[in-house]
Symmetry: C2
């Protein structure tokens, strides 16, 4: 062990931000795309494009068939599997699967956390995001993409208050006791990707295609994926064994909560919700949906982290300084639901 | 071992396309973004956006500071490191780091191949691609993105001939003896992402930022990244220990080949080049650049796979059916240059 630690320090301390305490043994790792459809475009003029400076021009005929609305999934399968099912991770809006990787300040994220605890983790980029690719608009995607300034998530994700982001970390007004790694905030803004507001149906369809390929499974989902997680489970109730909703911004179909009565659900909310302009209503929508699941005879638990003695969490709790503490709460809940293998 | 193999078969045969013969032991894995710059946008009206169906509207002020032109790097560090330096993998145009992951027909790609041979692999998404994100145009990016039909790469990457892609794999006219996994071609089209033709400087700057963070290193690069690989090495000759150019579509500055004389370079070309409309010239440009490196006193070897007895390779040789054979040729070359650790 000391030899391995020595190798880590000498070879990669500067190159890699996260320091791993123990090796990770994988029986396999890889990726695939899933879902999507073919679309025809016609009637456009042929273009000549020089792809590389000084390169040889290529004729590009924009007419023809396009592959669109697929999603990307990367998987890591531990040699010593302890989860009873694979764990799918679905990110929030304007983001990708990077959400669950190394935190913006260089610590281990939830992907490594759950992988180290023996879960087969399937981390993904939703339709239109990251390695899923995106399609031309307005021909195929029906709206324009939305881009966010460096200030926007700073306030909207309850990291700090106005006047918002400042290039000098010391000049930013953080929420009192904020757990967000302020010194990594600029790295966090590099994780952002454009988003559309009109692709919800395509995104849900691709998530269901992922379920049909990978599950039975547990799904952990964040923010915008709140609606996708609950709706996908409603569409495939036999294939989803548990739902972990991390600050879901949307919910499933309230008229079909009975489909979820056999699927234990955990909803987790962070700190600073009461004083926010939008989050009290968002949280209330989630809590009401959980009430509906329970009224239908199911199990849905709502955890407000401050009431559980865990304070200071932003909307991005998977990258907050206490991200391992929040992950441990989820891990304990999953163990309590019998979703880990018996020793 | 039989216990582990049993677990693979029972748990993940359907869920995971690639079957790994032996576990992969990592001392760490993670990701980071690097490079980029801040840009100011002003004078635009504030929008109200409903991000999630049925969600709470949020005010989006498009004016402010944007983080743009960063790139994404994912790293896998083997517990038993055998490469003398980290191995950086740079993908080609309209693609992402997925190029080196599981092949479109579900076999192991070059990321796993070199990781299993003890290389610390840093696989990336260049500026504007995948998890690197992209910036609004024409404000920040100066051209429109280019989208490719399903037919376009089929011919341009020397997989098959006209009339191009057909939804029925049996109706596609493949190159004689093609090694491309035709049955996975539709999955390959899902890996494609839009590209711009005006971001070369930003892309090169981000790659140099990656070098400054991770290297000394070996860089393996493909297609469009030909220009980036050679130019980045010319900008940081002390940090680059070897270059593996896989069908480079561009080259470095011919007037500065002397900067590369201390960096052994390997250029690898596949099959079906002579009968292509563009590839004879592209290959000749690469071979002439290699001549220049040698004339400056350096080492640059050009390998045409058919002349080495390896036939049928497309432009995407890292996903061809014989991808392990081509990788072994590269691995042997790296070993011959003393770039693996002494046992």
């Amino acid at each position: 062990m000391s030899r391995i630690r020595g190798a880590i320090v000498s070879l990669s301390l500067l190159a890699t931000p996260a320091f791993a305490a123990e090796p990770i043994a994988l029986r396999d790792m890889g990726s695939f795309h899933v879902g999507g459809r073919l679309v025809e475009i016609s009637g456009r003029p042929v273009k000549e494009v020089v792809f590389t400076q000084g390169g040889v021009p290529a004729k590009i005929d924009p007419n023809g068939t396009y592959q669109v609305e697929q999603m990307y999934v990367q998987y890591f399968l531990p040699a010593d599997e302890k989860g009873a099912y694979p764990l799918l991770m679905w990110h929030g809006g304007g983001l990708t699967g990077v959400t669950y990787e190394t935190t913006p300040d260089g610590r281990e994220g939830w992907l490594n956390y759950f992988l180290r605890r023996g879960w087969s983790v399937y981390n993904s980029d939703a339709v239109e995001r990251g390695r899923a690719g995106w399609a031309q608009y307005p021909d195929i995607f029906k709206s324009e993409p939305v881009f966010l300034t460096t200030s926007n998530p700073f306030e909207r994700f309850r990291i700090g208050t106005g006047p918002g982001w400042d290039p000098d970390p010391a000049k930013r007004k953080l929420m009192p006791g904020s757990q967000f790694p302020n010194e990594g905030y600029d790295n966090f803004t590099k994780q952002g990707v454009p988003r559309w507001t009109t692709n919800d149906d395509a995104t849900l369809a691709a998530y269901i295609a992922e379920i049909d390929r990978v599950c039975p499974c547990v799904i952990l989902f964040h923010s915008q994926a709140g609606a996708f997680g609950f709706k996908a489970a409603q569409a495939r109730p036999d294939k989803v064994k548990a739902l972990v909703a991390v600050e879901p911004a949307g919910v499933g179909d309230p008229g079909r909560v009975d489909a979820l009565k056999g699927i234990p659900s955990l909803l987790v909310y962070g700190d600073f919700i009461e004083q926010d302009s939008r989050w009290p209503k968002i949280r209330a929508t989630g809590a009401a949906f959980a009430d509906g699941i329970r009224a239908a005879g199911g199990t849905a638990e709502v955890v407000d982290l401050p009431k559980a003695g865990i304070n200071g969490n932003s909307h991005m709790m998977m990258m907050d300084k206490n991200n391992a503490e929040v992950a441990a709460l989820i891990q304990t809940w999953l163990e309590g639901k019998g979703l880990t293998k018996k020793p």
